[in-house]
Symmetry: C2
Subunit: 542 residues, 2 copies
């Protein structure tokens, strides 16, 4: 690792605009934006993916490797990534900082406490919760209906026992009521932090959070329990983007990491905009496959922040193609050319979808050791047939050098004039927006709304919030709302079971099926593998 001061220099950031957290991590000062804001933007590259198999597709890996490769080609590039949260690191082995020769450093620190952003969000979230219950306890002047409080509590831990709880038991402990914890990344405050353009914008969004409803069923906002300014105080440092480096010294801005289902699943607007002022290319990623991640990146983040993506990378793996052809997980390593052809239907649909957004796409075949030569050639041929540029990416084994072909193709695609367009207009009703996404992106025949969802949609209209974009919460494994229907299905409907309002973040969440916002630990938690060795180094994390 190089000192972060040196990495900053390569990105044109002066030492005075850094707030150091040790030698290898820094926050970017508020002043930096003022200094660079009038510069021309670099080109924004979105890394997305086909529907993943349960082991993932290698999107973060490819994002890191591509940024390294672009730098190798002499193009000044910054990667803009999501911030991992520590809870999940205790569940399934592996952090979210890439691996092999395409990773971000210092990986352990980034995966655990990092610069404290997520701890700060947890604190702000729970302060609001405590202020709500204290408001009721102290006489409830606002008339909050304790049965209709929608603001839960948050913790950055995988702890299923806290999903559904009863609080306020016993004498002098407040109103007894049902409640629950979500993991902090699912907090609306995380989504807000990631969509805010400034501290003032953050304050405004926090004020608008709907915490519950009063006895007249009217929404009650965070500002009505006087929690907003104190939340801003707690988030004052967390809103500043973090600078780290890849294993090859590429600058990486890591900032924010909202859930990709209940929220929009991409890193912060502040980080993206800052990176665009500092580099010729900014490589960023969105959660899950393109049906969810790219659609929300475009229709929520780009819409709100006025961003124009220049190109997209669709990460695919031979494994994921086979998985989408119905091959069992245990058999994914075996050569199977027929399955590749069948599974490719899934990729083709994602490519068609990206065309609808006017974003040129390049396919990155993230290479696995089990891929055979014949399989790789087959996939490249399939891409060519579909009219798509494709490149084998071997960044795990080779770092940036394993991604230069991809980098060249991405760079050429990004040079074309942008045709970027959003999928729907704000003026559509909530139902129309959902129907548009389902028909145009998922290719379903229609949407079935539960009575509860319809009731909330009516409420959204009454509250004058129909203009907000929609954030779909759907399984990532399928274009449908059922994880077992793979490939490129048609003739299906999407069931919207529930609608939630993220009035502060500024979107309407449409839930298809059940949504768990607090993960659990598996039988053998990854926490059991972690240890600090005699040299003080953390082992077992990635």
């Amino acid at each position: 690792m190089k000192p972060i001061v040196e990495i900053a220099k390569t990105a044109g950031i002066d030492e005075n605009d850094l707030e150091l957290y040790g030698k290898f991590k820094a926050k970017l000062s508020n002043d930096l934006w003022e200094k660079v804001k009038d510069r021309q933007d670099g080109k924004l590259i979105l890394v997305t993916a086909m529907n993943p198999n349960p082991a993932g597709a290698g999107k973060t890996l490819t994002t890191i490797g591509l940024s390294q490769a672009l730098n190798l080609l002499g193009k000044k590039t910054i990667a803009a990534l999501r911030e991992p949260s520590l809870g999940p690191c205790m569940g399934i082995k592996g952090g979210a900082t890439g691996s092999g020769k395409a990773q971000i450093l210092p990986a352990d620190e980034i995966n655990l406490h990092f610069t404290g952003d997520i701890h700060a969000i947890t604190a702000a979230h729970n302060l609001l919760a405590a202020m709500i219950d204290n408001h009721i306890f102290q006489g409830n002047p606002r008339g909050l209906n304790p049965k209709k409080i929608v603001w839960k509590r948050a913790m950055d831990m995988n702890d299923r026992a806290l999903r559904n709880i009863v609080i306020g038991l016993g004498d002098s402990n407040g109103m007894t009521r049902e409640d629950g914890f979500m993991i902090t990344t699912a907090s609306e405050i995380m989504a807000i932090l990631c969509l805010s353009e400034s501290l003032a914008d953050l304050r405004d969004r926090l004020a608008h959070i709907i915490i519950g409803y009063d006895f007249d069923d009217q929404p009650v906002r965070a500002e009505e329990v006087n929690a907003v300014e104190a939340m801003v105080v707690l988030l004052k440092e967390a809103i500043k983007p973090n600078l780290v480096q890849t294993i090859e010294g590429t600058p990486v801005i890591i900032h924010g990491g909202p859930f990709a289902n209940i929220a929009h699943g991409c890193s912060s607007v502040i980080a993206t905009k800052t990176a665009l002022k500092l580099a010729d290319y900014v490589v960023t990623e969105a959660g899950f496959g393109a049906d969810l991640g790219a659609e929300k990146f475009f229709d929520i983040k780009c819409r709100k922040a006025g961003l124009t993506p220049a190109a997209a990378v669709v990460v695919i793996t031979v494994r994921s193609l086979k998985y989408n052809a119905g091959v069992k997980v245990a058999d994914l390593a075996a050569e199977n050319l027929d399955a590749l052809e069948k599974g490719f239907a899934n990729v083709k649909r994602h490519l068609e979808n990206l065309e609808k957004f006017g974003v040129p796409a390049v396919v990155a075949i993230n290479h696995f050791a089990t891929d055979t030569q014949a399989e790789v050639e087959k996939v490249i041929a399939l891409c060519q047939e579909a009219g798509a540029e494709a490149a084998l990416s071997n960044v795990w084994a080779e770092g940036g050098a394993g991604g230069t072909e991809l980098a060249e193709k991405v760079s050429r695609a990004a040079e074309r004039p942008s045709q970027f367009r959003l999928l729907y207009e704000e003026e559509l009703t909530v139902k129309e927006k959902i129907e548009t996404i389902v028909k145009e992106v998922y290719r379903g025949s229609g949407v079935v709304f539960s009575p509860g969802a319809l009731k909330t949609i009516q409420k959204v209209e009454e509250m004058g919030m129909s203009h907000l974009p929609v954030c779909m919460a759907k399984t990532p494994y399928s274009f449908t709302d059922r994880p077992d229907i793979l490939g490129a299905p048609t003739d299906f409907t999407i069931q919207v079971s529930e609608i939630r309002v993220s009035a502060g973040a500024g979107f309407i969440v449409a839930l298809t099926g059940s949504l768990v916002t607090m993960p659990g630990l598996p039988k053998k938690p990854a926490a059991e593998l972690l240890y600090v060795d005699e040299d003080g180094v953390i082992n077992g994390l990635s």
Copy 2:
């Protein structure tokens, strides 16, 4: 503020032994201890107090001011203080970093997230909790009795609604059982961090935490749910002491802040020992009055860490004297010489107690604007009558310059050869230890144990842990267990309602009366006063 690198230099700390958190905060590297450990120790000064009035006595203020004053006298001094937690800052206005011209900087950051130590403790605490419930959920191979889990959850927030809760409701969410949250400073992990001498010691203590009992009523330790190494990973940075500065540039090591009732209430052993190697004088404080704070500082911290205090400062205020004479809070500002004489009985008893420990004491009269000249003279005369050195301390208004007389007297007291002795031997039974503290320090006639307390004491004996020192949890306002019995009462008994075992921290907690380990927010929480102004500065905190 001077750059922390410069402050470090004045303490003889090389820049390479600092891990910077911005320009004004740093952690001390593990290597530093190796470099300085063979040096001679400086003199350890304990700042304690008479029984406080509800508004506090100014112990932290005096600790800071005295360290500044000693430096003014040319004595190389470091203050070693407790780390504030952010939860309480949202409740009652005011941080824990001193005020006026005797304060620690950057106050806002220290009072809120600081370097993330308390967030790390919260994470480690809740990881253990999640591992316990997951252990049961995944089949409960160890046979943990869900009705006898004593490890609760933790949060750094004042949130009374979480005191008593039911967790694990609903399908697939684990065992439904009663639980509760404590504020993080009450976590045994906080006490452990403060008593550990190294990362290895920390690991060992974490392993010994009793998380609950099995179906045969045998204790189950944290190591039996495989959570220990991961907790060490989470606490790896938190165990390093933090360096900041006073408003006059005196180096301050702030590290750890355990509750003064359920735990021993003083900053970390690592911080104290490091400071003693770096300075001629180390000024530190213990929670509450001398009956609780000093007794635990000596009998728990000094016993365990092999520390020898050179002198003690007893902070008193004219207000506290009057309060101890029974004057109502509303009348504390009015001159009342008779009340001073009556209230002084409280101070006298604390001075006698410190003599029992063989520690020379100096009385610091922490000056308030409402104190009259006659009152101050009266108090000084009372101290002289009692054979005690006393000095007026005006460090709030004048900084170190307002504490030079105190500093001179303290320095002279500390030059005398140490007569330090512990109050009781480890070999005594738990009951005998408690009785010794009650009779020798509180001056009660005896102890009444509840049947539950007696049962746990028997359990402690069976588990072979009778040798541990006792940590008394008692009201700070009185020598008795009733906050309304002030002054220097005699002929009372202490009721021990419950015994808890902190096997990792290494003490037996004796609870007198009820103990709330999770505070609530008041009617007008301090959180409502906080805001970030247009210059990005936090207002309303102190």
